[in-house]
Symmetry: D2
Subunit: 353 residues, 4 copies
């Protein structure tokens, strides 16, 4: 029994941030460590990263590697919104709830305007209503400047390309630019089977936070700019935010390995499959119900606190979701194994019995 | 001849930022990559890092790992100076000239007040004069809030512990706190033979930017706080700046390996010795003169542009120093070899002949 | 008929900001214009202002005159909330909707957290729930720092002293400070008959934006600080915001005249009575209904757009309230006359007939 | 004797900010106080102000009235320089030394770069050198964005139109815009006899802080924009800074009266003449020497502290200039009388005898 408990201790479903670095990415860092290289992004690996991203996204783009998703999001927002601007996002968006005001900081005080929608997807009608409630000529209000979408969302759902296109069209129609928080973009790609272009610029996205850290990197994210005019000043913003890596080759190497040979899709696919298996199993456990569609690598369930406590006691680690009673989040990562999922399910069934 | 030229191509004295990661530090990253670990600094390695720093600095301190020296400096300044505050620093300090306004950004607009001094060391009398020119009760002026010292300095010189203590006493006497930019602190430690405590808190430093990236790390710096009251709000500032690593164990592992077993001193000692050998040799080259004392790993020389061009042609890479005619900087790193130094000197002698 | 129309043209119920300066206040400005006086608030009138406010509010307080309500609010918020802080306010609060992000600007990026409640009064239970959803130890969230109440509210309702005390107790219990936006405090005083102390510091308010401009001044507002510790840095914040009047005697003179001899209460009482008469009359007009309790000088009505258009055509000027269909705001000022109210009512009755 | 002393007490040469409001301007405020008027600058007087300024400056321009010179300067700077920008100005410029970091605040952290020059006039060669030391492509440096000139300067000197044109040409050649701090522009106009156009946009100035408060207004300054593209976002910046007057007619009325009928030139001419008479007289007093050319309304003298103390004792009020030993400033205003000047001179002669 003790052995079982100890084995269970290792089942960590708290976040994909707890996962280790994927071997392919660590190997890329090691390969990058050969002799001297130009600093601050002038190196050959960063140049290759841009090329591979252009190829994968099927367009000319600019890429600005940074260290964290918070930085990528906040830099992107600061590019789109002036200090006196307003940015529309879902009230549950990561940038609204989990970045301690980073978008406000980087932009010099832009305002986030919450737009509701089920499962953390912005509702198109609600967005249209929010837009029409604004008067761009009224200097007493912040200037509507940008829309920010999360793909996949903070609650594990995914936008269809059509849904993205509809929101982007509304935004552009009102003179706004569109940001996509792609901290878990790979999971959305794996879920939809869409190409990177389809889920981003072809649907109208102007600037993307491309995440890798939650999906196997050590610390590597990037601001990807599809609309050239939006790069203006971005290099200096990155520098003064302390996000310009002196030895950038090691950040770029992670990102290059991540997208080259479709590693990002394989890792995300594995995480998504683990989450799907977990969801499928949990759905069958008496007393547990799924709170949101499981379309990426996150599973949100409602269950009695006794059951949640029991799972925790048995070594399954996960978070109670703040702000709502009896809601819990379990996150699969690229290295969550079938055996782990089976154990969690067996444990849940036993506790619910 | 062609072969010689091609070998010379590899002599990179532009910056210690071009150097690769030290094997010991890469190994520490690899060791840290075992299974899941708590995210955002709750992991065991980060806890160990704090312990080893307390031991090395012989005091209770708090450590906040971040990704870049710019971030460490700007966070530290924001802790010491309110938005309406003033920070005294040398006009050649990195935070004044090379961070694109990061201290102003992080602090919300604090003002840097230049205080002169030879070789980028702040002159004690000039600082006293600057302080006495301020009137803390005059709301038209920014509030004098902090002194920032660079150790070693931007021009390769080093402060003695006594010089630091004198400046800190002036600062504290006027109600200011003291920041040390220690991007190259290890070089100063290696040069002086002082203990970390002697060059920092025992001399009066309240908060330190501890650098590792220029001296063998991949991307690892830290804000080290000696004066507990100064940690207030720092964790949130770091988060909203996008400097809170989700997988912090990999940043902390670099820093732990850096200070444990005196690796930092060994690496810095090697860089310092290479710079000293380079300086000693260049001093003997007709037409070349040293512009600043070589006390760390940087060599500043004045030489005819023909000579500089010749060296560059022969594959020695280094920077012309902006703002001054015919001034050049050559930086040795922990992996600059004796053979490289010998080749540079042979080349210079040949060109000067 | 033409004459009637032209007379009606002068009925301006758009805002109390359209009203002229009260004769008593203009006279005070003229009296202040005798010879030289100390600048930047060192003058005798500013000293007298502080004394008369201490006397009226029955406590030792500090007063910082400024030019606008936006500045008073934003300065007060910046005193209470750090750049990484959160401020709870009603989603319809003036500082959330009508100041183009001034609180975010002055505070360096603090976040406004909306807390709902009927008639723009924050609901005590909703506030308690919002507080308990926060985790002050979670660095991913902004630090809960302040509660901001508007008295009277943006929708013309008024908090009872008991309601204020309950909210302040919750706030203080959670370590937050309390700001009151008193752009129309005098209207609330006139409505409740309470003393200034009862509606502010005795109920738990720490810092007050005291408005005068909407109630008869030319341009005069003040940050009034009841909790001494909260004055720290405020003088410099005011200066760097461009809100430190060089000839402050003329701002202070307005405020002194405003509170001395109860002028503020007389003017607000007149405006409140006009609004009450207007509300009483409109309530009797078929098709018109009051949307919010009329407790200050603002009347919110729902009416058919045909009726609204008819009134406008007849020279009654007022605003459609943004964001809600068929909602209109009519604001009485200290100089709205009985005759004007009668004409508006007669006009409405005629149109509704 | 007592009577003489008491009369002398009223000689206030500390600053033109201590002066009262000119009768013509107070009368304009009173005239503006007729019934209701559109708020927030939609009123007829503000429209007239724009028209009269276009006529006086002989060009199409936009005007944004604000309350203080600090606000006008900081708004103008924020229009010209991004948060990551650099602004060149004289180290003694008001915006560098006397605004507690307002330009940094409004711009989100832009950096002021000091450029020296005699008598607080920026030296053209020094500016060219400062420009050439910048590398606009180097993201480690702030982006060179603007030049700011003060006319008249902080030390009472005046730029010739030719000197302005030369500096503006350098600035524009390097892609920078030009701001003029015209807190005392009228004094420069009166001194040079130039037209407003000649000293501003015809010489290359893009944006002007137009001061009136120091020269007879109550509280009225304006941002005047000659280059239309530079108005973008300015209205919202003014609002969120708390500088949008709700009852703007009273600010605009001051400015209109100020420029209409050349009142500004008459008032400034009187102040200049008083300063010139003071300077001429003091020059003849043994032990006193003029420190700077007296071209506007400020007189800087070096004198023994015993003489300065004697004058103070006899009721002449003026400031010791900070940062330099034995330097004193005496400022004449539009209402400094011949009799006052005579008394000061008689007093000085007596003390020096």
């Amino acid at each position: 029994l003790r052995q079982l408990a100890s084995e269970l201790e290792s089942i960590d479903l708290r976040s994909d941030n707890e996962a280790p670095v994927a071997p392919e990415i660590l190997a890329a860092i090691e390969r990058a460590n050969r002799g001297a290289a130009d600093s601050y992004g002038e190196d050959a690996i960063t140049a290759r990263l841009r090329a591979v991203l252009c190829e994968r996204f099927e367009t000319q783009l600019e890429v600005f590697p940074v260290f964290t998703g918070t930085a990528a999001n906040a830099l992107a927002i600061a590019q789109l919104a002036p200090a006196f601007g307003a940015v529309f996002c879902h009230p549950q968006a990561h940038l609204a709830t989990d970045e301690c005001g980073a978008p406000e900081f980087y932009s010099g005080g832009a305002k986030l305007i919450p737009v509701p929608g089920e499962h953390a997807r912005i509702d198109a009608e609600a967005f249209a209503a929010a837009l029409s409630a604004c008067d761009a000529d009224d200097v007493h209000q912040s200037l509507p400047a940008a829309l920010s979408l999360s793909q996949s969302t903070e609650l594990g759902s995914v936008y269809s390309p059509r849904a993205i296109a509809e929101l982007c069209a509304s935004a552009h129609g009102a003179g706004l630019s569109v940001h996509m928080d792609g901290a878990r973009l790979a999971n959305a790609l794996a879920h939809t089977g869409c190409s990177p272009a389809e889920l981003t610029w072809r649907a109208g996205v102007d600037i993307l936070s491309l995440g890798a850290t939650k999906n196997g990197a050590l610390a590597a994210e990037a601001v990807v700019v599809f609309e050239r005019a939006l790069t203006d000043g971005l290099a200096r913003r990155r520098k003064r935010a302390g996000q310009l890596a002196s030895k950038m080759r090691f950040v770029s190497a992670q990102l290059e390995a991540y997208v080259r040979d479709d590693l990002w899709l394989r890792l995300a696919g594995q995480a998504n499959r683990a989450a799907a298996a977990l969801a499928a199993g949990l759905r069958g456990v008496p007393g547990i119900e799924l709170a949101h569609p499981v379309e990426a690598n996150e599973v949100f369930v409602r269950m009695p606190s006794s059951l949640a406590d029991g799972l925790a006691k048995d070594g399954v680690r996960f978070h109670r979701w703040p702000g709502e009673h009896a809601l819990y989040r379990l996150v699969a990562s690229y290295c969550t194994s079938d055996a782990e999922i089976e154990r969690v399910l067996a444990c849940a069934m036993r506790l619910a019995a």
